[in-house]
């Protein structure tokens, strides 16, 4: 069998790039294929308007696993982080505001203005959740285990994890196991009384989930979002200088430095399967490229049902893929601003605005926003996360001007009525109107606006169902159930076809871990050495 490359990587998002760079560094011949003209996928920074650069999907790269940056030498390839002072700022009705700072003690002082009891409870809560998040971070970096036939090395990794769980101490270990399947609302209610604080903290618990904070398993996401938070923040939010896309640029540079070939604007039409194994790909142009193995960072549904094709799959597996919960529920609105909007609640302190600006004033508010989406409607009173990255990184916008990106929750991919092409600008208006309640001069500063709906994420960014996590990160779609039962260690029922995107363990978020772990697995299995 003639072969053009050892490995073909489908998709140039940060996970695909990580896999390509790692395999190239390991001395393999690698071709990466990206359908869009830009690399980065959901970790991209795009110049939507001349001079204005926006993070069009992921708002930060704070979850990036340190080992990805270290193994690939990303700092040599131009990766550099800027850190905000504020982790999150919640402007509230009546001109009040709550800021959580990177400095936890400073956060506690802010919280005291809302509740003395909460201020007292915050620091122990924060210390404990950080310990829990550290265990999750270890888990995320392990090869997922199989129910049978594990390698000793895989088991040893999980044994070490079990030890670190034990090291939490009896009380914390029990608490960790108790908390993971809980609803975030329930968990937060156990600790705090202030609506403002609980609403703000709960925002992180539903990132990428078509669920409200009361749903089971959202406490897991609350902790997951805290992985890698290096200081007092309730979630990690390091921003690469130059935008999230700079991470992808650095990964691409690392891949190319090790000899990988990267082709953009090259959609893959099909994964070629011969006798149950992946032998290469057919491009949309009709060209066929052959390889020893294929790694796909496209979501599992696209990878298998579209690129491999239903008839090639076993009926059990194909049903599982069709049952995969994707459920995109996030839209985004990107604004080019002629100046910095004034938030009266920030009391003239722009440093309060340099992190996430979160509109989620209470648990009930967030749950009700989800309730709309549950019934197929755009949230009438949406939960928002706005970022003004140009505050920290002036190069993202022309001198004196700013970029503001809003993640809009909840916007269900499947609308009960109407369609997204008709609803796009209405959603954009709603996002701006909602934010304007807290920043009265916002509208007067907007020079351009670009709205990305869940349908756009599906059509333009390749996310099936608009699902930014390539499969919701509910407890039923994690670890050895991710993306569905039947995947063991990034392998699929199709021989020599690996899943290396967010659909695989540990999941969504800009971690680079699915790409890294899948590349290790693929390299270990030695397809590149055959024939």
């Amino acid at each position: 069998m003639s072969r053009d490359f050892d490995f073909i990587v489908i998709g140039g998002g940060h996970n695909g790039l990580t896999a390509a760079a790692w395999l190239a560094k390991a001395g393999r011949r690698v071709l990466l294929l990206e359908a869009r003209q830009t690399l980065g996928g959901s970790a991209a920074t795009e110049e939507l308007f001349p001079g204005f650069h926006f993070n069009t999907a992921a708002p930060d790269a704070g979850l990036l696993a340190p080992q990805v940056a270290a193994e690939l030498g990303l700092h040599k390839h131009g990766l550099d982080f800027v850190a905000s002072q504020a982790a999150a700022f919640a402007p509230l009705a009546g001109g009040r505001g709550l800021t959580l700072w990177r400095d936890a003690e400073r956060s506690a002082m802010e919280i005291a203005a809302f509740s003395a009891a909460d201020a007292k409870a915050f620091l122990p809560f924060h210390r404990r959740t950080r310990r829990f998040a550290a265990v999750l971070a270890k888990m995320a970096a392990l090869q997922p285990f199989a129910l049978k036939s594990n390698s000793l090395r895989t088991l040893a990794g999980w044994a070490r994890l079990a030890l670190s769980l034990r090291a939490l101490g009896g009380r914390d270990m029990m608490e960790f196991l108790r908390v993971l399947p809980m609803g975030a609302a329930h968990y937060l209610n156990e600790h705090f009384e202030s609506d403002a604080l609980k609403g703000l903290l709960a925002y992180a618990s539903t990132v990428g989930l078509m669920q409200g904070p009361r749903a089971s398993g959202t406490a897991f996401m609350l902790l997951y979002q805290q992985m890698g938070a290096d200081n007092g923040a309730y979630r990690s939010s390091l921003l690469p200088r130059g935008g999230v896309g700079r991470l992808s640029t650095a990964l691409a540079a690392a891949a190319q430095a090790h000899g990988a070939e990267l082709r953009t604007g090259t959609p893959v039409a099909a994964i070629l399967c011969e006798d149950g194994r992946a032998a290469g790909v057919r491009l949309a142009s009709g060209e066929e490229v052959r390889a020893g193995a294929v790694l796909s960072s496209a979501d599992p549904r696209r990878t298998f049902l579209s690129l491999v094709g239903g008839p090639q799959l076993g009926p059990r597996f194909s049903r599982r893929l069709r049952s995969l919960k994707l459920r995109g529920s996030t839209a985004s609105v990107h604004l080019a601003l002629s100046g910095l909007p004034e938030f009266p609640a920030a009391a003239g302190d722009p440093s309060r605005l340099d992190g996430a600006i979160v509109i989620s004033p209470s648990l009930d508010y967030a749950e009700q926003a989800y309730d709309d989406a549950k019934h197929g409607r755009i949230a009438r009173r949406p939960v928002l996360e706005a970022r003004i990255p140009s505050l920290l990184d002036a190069g993202l916008a022309p001198q004196g001007q700013h970029t503001l990106s809003i993640l809009f929750r909840y916007a269900p991919h499947q609308l009960a009525e109407g369609d997204w092409d008709a609803e796009r600008e209405r959603l954009g208006d709603l996002a701006v109107d909602t934010l304007t309640q807290h920043a009265p001069n916002l509208k007067s500063l907007i020079s351009d606006r670009h709205t990305i709906t869940p349908l756009d994420y599906e059509r333009d960014y390749g996310l099936s169902g608009g699902g930014e996590m390539h499969g919701q990160m509910g407890l039923d779609q994690l670890l050895l159930m991710r993306p569905t039962p039947g995947f063991i260690g990034y392998r699929s029922p199709i021989d020599s076809l690996y899943v290396c995107g967010a659909g695989a363990h540990p999941g969504g978020g800009v971690t680079g871990l699915p790409g890294l772990l899948a590349a290790r697995q693929a390299a270990k299995e030695g397809y590149a050495k055959q024939t």
Binding site: L305, G310, P315, S318
Partner: protein, 398 residues
Amino acid sequence: MPIPGPLHSRIAPLCTTQEWRDWSGYLCPATYQPSHEVEYFAVRNAAGLIDVSPLYKYELRGPDAGRLADRLLTRDVSKCRVGQVLYSPWCDEDGYVIDDGTLARLGSDHYRLTAADPSLRWLQDVGYGMDVEIEDVSTRLAALALQGPNSRAILESLFSNLSLGQLGYYRLLQTKFKDAPLTVTRTGYTGDLGYELWLPPEHAPALWDRLMDAGRGYGLLPVGLAALDMLRVEAGLLLIEVDYTSSNHAHIPAQKSTPYELGLGWTVAANKADFIGRHSLQALAQPAQQLVGLAVSWPDLEREFGKVGLPPQVAGRASRTPVPLYAGGRHVGQATSLMFSPILKTYIALATLDSQYAQPGSDVEIEITVEYVRGRAGAKVVKPPFYDPPHKKAVQRG
């Protein structure tokens, strides 16, 4: 609770015994008359009419209809011509049999499949991504089985336009009955000459009436499930959940069967295009157990029953109670369908045996119970079918 089927208005008045069985949720007579043996002999010597409407039926239409059928079944569907019918089991991905049925090719892109169990979801799963329309027509098609040596003559008297004499075994004809489409397949579950008639349920009672009228001079009787069960055992035809357990219903892996274990190895076309279970079946082609026929020694029965002063007591109907089999004092299998064959005058069984004892001519022992006491009688392995008359497959010349 079972419900009346499309022919209930006709069969209910005839079912003088009021002995009903539940077949896939429908009321079906076990016997119409006090003696099921009369019904049995009608099929073997004259003709019987059986309502088989409770079968599950699926239609596959479209460019990939044949591809779906070929991926589903172990038989090579590419060799099935228009007008042909195939019997085949189908397997799960591990190579274990889910169900068995017949596939009729009605047109170049049009097939009809029968199944014992509901199968729509499995068909949809196997056909996902194929250009094929899968329709559950179970309630949109009634089915009448006209079986027995006189069945051709009865049918010819009704449909003089059909050249039934030339219709081969496992072939089909399509015609009209009262402007409704009627498919006639030369198939059945009796091992005799016979036909199955498939038509919309609203026309089924009228067809029943016409057949019963036409059959008057030919000894035609309505036949219930008790007789059918005996007929199919003599014909060596398997019954799901009796002679094998569907892999969908097995509680433990040992309850599942491969086609090789069921004596259906001949249906596995290992060299055709990829089909569900092919990969697993490659490793399973040498089965540890096999389904065989048994003929129980009558002298042994006389001996064992004679010890207590009784003549042999044998099941008048086909027994579905599994009975253990022994060889050299060791358990080596079980008989799953057991009956006294009225036409062969032999006590016969369908049985699953360890492969080393499965060769025709092998001797094993079967457990019998004589006045509450367990004993054993000798039995010889035979290759089913037990009863295979020439007229089952015969075609008239010219």
